[in-house]
Symmetry: C2
Subunit: 143 residues, 2 copies
């Protein structure tokens, strides 16, 4: 099947936008002494506590790397290790208030960054952007 | 400054689209026994040879993780270690034909995946999507 005539341009813009947002997020994280993988770890832990093994699986990183990354976040009081209620031999990772606050601040900053850009579009363009992204997102979720 | 009224929705769709593309890419990479960080390493090495230290910097990963990741790619003949021409003590990483081929195949697959979705839009919607993404990308590159 032939590629869609606009696919290369659309893929290019999507990829660059993602890179620019990630770049901005990384700079922001520096203020909290966090790296991107640590931030992703916090995002996962915010949804639920998990074991090191589960977190490694979510992050696609080796266990030595994740141990390291968790150790540093523990020192910063962003997460802690707790014993599982049901099986005391199992250690689970839990996000702390400090970690939740970092996520909140980074998310707010991300919104502020994007807002500044969106404010430069006229309202029709912003609506068209939202509509277009929503269309693409629905298509990608389908099937 | 108040946030743009559409920023949360736009950020949500952008983030989800990026996650879905990344998810698809990761599945595709499994066929080549590669992880996402290894793929990103290949993308960096395609642009130029680099030392382990430089690659660690680009990937934001610890040197033990990157050594591991490079070792596995060396066994698969995707990269090799070569001595620097100017300073024989320095080891540089170089992408091999096998590595270039993987990148090419993954990129093509990504285009195919996205094309399938775009083919479900009518041409006006596809043009509107391209226009909207191009606008946002320009704004983000500016300043």
């Amino acid at each position: 099947m032939a590629h869609h005539p606009r696919v290369e341009e659309i893929e290019f813009h999507l990829r660059k936008i993602a890179v620019l947002i990630r770049h901005h997020t990384r700079e922001m994280l520096g203020q909290y002494q966090l790296t991107l993988p640590q931030y992703y770890a916090l995002l996962h832990l915010r949804r639920q506590t998990m074991t090191m093994g589960e977190l490694c699986g979510h992050l696609y990183l080796a266990s030595s790397t994740v141990t390291d990354l968790v150790d540093r976040m523990e020192k910063l009081n962003y997460v802690r290790r707790v014993r599982d209620d049901k099986d005391r031999r199992v250690i689970r990772l839990q996000i702390l208030d400090g970690g939740e606050e970092v996520i909140e601040k980074v998310m707010q900053d991300r919104m502020r960054f994007l807002s500044k850009k969106l404010n430069q579009l006229d309202p029709n363009q912003a609506e068209a952007l939202l509509q277009a992204l929503s269309n693409l997102h629905s298509l990608m979720e389908a099937e």
